[in-house]
Amino acid sequence: MIKNLPKAFKAAFPHTIPVLTGFIFLGIAYGILMSGRGFGWYWILLTSVVVFAGALQFVGISLLTSVFDPLYAFLIAISVNARHLFYGISMLEKFSGTGKIKPYLIFGMCDETFSILCSTEPPENVDKRAFMFAVTALHQSYWVVGGVIGGLIGPLLTFDTYGIDFVMTAFFVVIFINKWRASKNHAPALIGLGAATAGVLVFGADNFIIPAMILIIVCLTVFRKQLAKGEE
């Protein structure tokens, strides 16, 4: 059993406020886009509960409205979300010993949940596992609620929403700036930018993620000595 869950939610809530606002906003944008393609709020509820991966859900809108191709959808899901492999490797230690809630912590680890869990420690009187569970569950509930709100108000909107999907881009740019400012060692950021840009130029917009990930791993491996030093 997880101890003192209400206490953990109370402790976690302040840390999740930026994501609350961001996810409600992004979720509404997602809901508006989905409803614009004819998917009612219950479809949005379903995808946000069982997929819970913002970038893929945005990409998924076009998959759900074009020719039925399950294998292509699977490959897209793997490649768009392949970065989660990187997050999983980062959280191996933190999630060990979390018992019954471990599967949900892993299932719910989106970009935002990951960045909070790896940078925030709960107060001493709050159970660590309960805290991590609370952050994850709060984030997912914001995302679900935002999406459903967007799905409900989308059909009522009369202004042109063209370009609203830029919220996703702006969100990642902000996360990037935060990460850049949080660390003196900019090598991982520069390796990421360089490898991804090279990937787009060589493999094109649709196929670059996996080659870029491999290039990142190669760079991190080759320069391990220098990079590990910079981190200390």
Binding site: V50, V51, F86, K179, G192, A195
Partner: protein, 109 residues
Amino acid sequence: MPTITQALILIAILSLGTAITRFLPFVFFPNAESAPPYVHYLGKMLPTAAISLLVVYCFREIELTAAPHGLPEVIAIAAVAALHIWKKNTLLSIAAGTVVYMGLVQFVF
């Protein structure tokens, strides 16, 4: 446009694919202690590199050689970055940048 059954199958597949990417490292290393130092090193370096990858991902379809040459994106991102460095308010940066972008693509370019 897929049927309802096909849409449900697609959502199940998106869910499965996502779960695989999230669970795989834990399947390979059920005990964190048993993971080699190299994996721990990657765990430290990868988050920032992954965010960088995401940023490039958002810009992957910009055509620099055709009008408007990615200008709406460049201007909106400059607005996001400037505002965020100045005010450090995540929501404000995102909201303002999106409004700038929507204005640019709807009325200017």
